[in-house]
Symmetry: C2
């Protein structure tokens, strides 16, 4: 078994994270990065890694074991996912929760037809959080599951913030309520409203002449995004935004609070504190790329999710070693 | 698919927990409890559940889908595990970490020969903690893994405590150090000594005429068990022991602290707060019993561990429903 050859399709935050993650795994090598943009405008992750145009992808079918799809979930993956699964074993981080069943079905058909294996919706949510929601309810059938997000930068809410008239730039942090987490950890299984679970903190740079009070009012009353939360708006300078808010930290908690048959309370908590959301997501994608290659070598084709993958397939170590070291 | 028929072999703390857990899972029914003791001396979990003598086990082969082995890891399972895997699909919570590879090998040979499937070393440690140690290092290859136990009652250390001359009865709680956990959560990846990670709290009832200071000295200096820890010994009455220390709470933390390829720190934490150690362990066993039955129906025989089992096999829900609800 030589090194597995990984290629990246789409080179944004996640694509860069995947390139960095492949470098941390000795059993993998980075074959190439593919982009829809002009490759000459893109800095390659290492001097040896070619950045190639998208339309050359299919020429590399035989040289790529797993293609990691790093396009956006909204516009790129619904098309790229099925299209590329017809030709490559793939992993992706599709995260439009409500559309996952139809996406799985589309990728599954294409992957089966091509004899490929695709693990979709990989990352932390969906991904590791989904896995923990499943384990929680399977191990403690009588109970409640609580997901909290943050503290972390929300891409979608930051985009919404930037669309407010008078806002030149800005970021939004989702912050889980410590009181709500403590209540859930206590095993009391509280019913929590949207407002009780999370607060939203916005940092905005104003456009010239914009009225701060007017911007704040527009933000905190925005339906769907902010109106249902306690939201704060802090005006900062463009310099401060660049200096203090360039990272993409995120994370959160999945907590299962249940009662076992003899009447005892049991609380299981899974918590992520991510210094970089895209780098962690990329790291998860790369571990599942290893699993996808192995499943394909065994002839298990079609679309799968993290719920379907045996954990030992994620590790480069042989099963005997895992049992001896980790059980 | 009717209900899966579960039987219990050995009826101690864990066996009672399994009976209670089966009652929480609508797709299962409890066929019988088997014991090496005189069945007439044992209270059945429900009036309908027969308690039967051990030597009738094999007569029930065709009526049992999964036999849950609830014997002790030290003396019972090394013999019962392989012996019963020859005749039944089984799950067990074998927890002598150092002997897991040889135990897996012995059960594997028997299970394969019998066409059965056995998932061994199931529970929380080994079990869910092992799974999280694996996920931690697979997702974050550059980093350190920290396991903390407690706060909780340690069976092994309580047994050692009770062997001290002058001790009539007693329990020992393992308590993880909050300062050590905070240091690990901060991402600083500290090197921690045994003494820095956990403290040990003993509650003892003295024998008539025993000298408290003498007992305390014997406990805190006991090699392997207490000498390497900051240990406290509190003398209590037999009434207080019965009133305050009858439960078997436990739990702990598995924390992976790593750095992804772009240099960002990432911390993943899995935490259990168990009101009852045997009831939670039993609940985990029952979910893996479901997986064992399914794997056996698919023809996958031999011994497996939690590291080898796809999470979706643990849930009574069909995969499509899991994807729609939990991803
Ligand atoms: N499951 C999870 O837990 C999880 C977590 C985080 C993110 N995600 C998902 O991951 C997806 C990708 O996230 P991302 O942060 O990598 O998005 P992104 O940076 O916007 O990149 C998405 C795509 O846009 C193109 N692109 C990137 N930079 C560009 C630029 N400067 N100009 C024009 N096009 C550019 C790239 O394709 P080309 O190279 O082909 O142009 C890239 O593949 C998100 O949509 C999200 O759904 C999932
Ligand atoms: N993996 C994990 O996370 C985990 C967690 C907790 C425990 N465990 C394991 O689970 C094993 C069983 O734990 P347990 O608490 O159920 O042990 P236990 O109560 O001592 O029971 C062990 C066996 O002893 C017999 N027994 C029970 N009560 C008895 C009594 N009053 N007199 C005589 N015999 C009696 C029963 O067999 P008969 O009915 O045949 O007599 C029973 O199967 C432990 O050895 C431990 O290794 C694993």
């Amino acid at each position: 078994m030589g090194q597995r050859r990984i290629a990246i399709a789409g080179y944004g935050n996640l694509g860069r994270g995947v390139a960095a993650a492949v470098g941390q795994n000795a059993d993998m090598t980075l074959h190439a990065v593919f982009t829809r943009r002009d490759p000459s405008t893109i800095d390659p992750p290492t001097p040896q890694t070619p950045v190639l145009p998208w339309d050359e992808l299919l020429d590399h079918r035989d040289e790529v074991d797993v293609l990691v799809l790093c396009g956006g979930s909204k516009d790129d993956l619904p098309q790229q996912g099925p299209e590329l699964a017809a030709h490559f074993t793939t992993v992706d981080s599709f995260d439009t929760h409500a559309r996952i069943p139809e996406y799985v079905a589309a990728v599954d058909a294409a992957a089966r037809a091509g004899g490929n294996t695709s693990i979709v919706a990989v990352g932390w949510d969906p991904g590791m959080f989904s896995l923990n929601r499943l384990l929680g309810e399977a191990l403690l059938p009588e109970g409640g599951t609580y997901t909290f997000w943050g503290p972390g930068l929300s891409q979608g809410h930051s985009d919404a913030l930037r669309r407010v008239p008078g806002v030149a730039a800005g970021v939004q942090y989702t912050v889980p309520s410590p009181a709500a987490i403590d209540a859930v950890r206590s095993g009391s299984r509280p019913e929590l409203t949207t407002r009780e679970k999370h607060t939203r903190e916005c940092y905005v740079v104003l456009e010239d002449g914009a009225d701060a009070a007017e911007v704040e009012r527009a933000v905190v009353t925005m339906p769907h995004y902010f109106a249902d939360y306690d939201t704060t708006v802090t005006v900062i300078s463009a310099e401060e935004l660049a200096r203090e808010h360039a990272d993409m930290p995120h994370g959160g908690f999945v907590i299962r609070s249940g009662t076992t048959g003899g009447g005892h309370d049991q609380v299981v908590e899974y918590r992520l504190q991510l210094g970089s959301n895209p780098e962690f997501t990329a790291s998860v994608l790369v571990a599942y790329a290893r699993a996808a290659a192995r499943l394909n070598e065994r002839g298990e084709t079609g679309a799968l999710t993290v719920l379907d993958v045996a954990p030992s397939l994620l590790s480069p170590k042989p099963v005997d070693q895992l049992r001896a070291e980790l059980l």
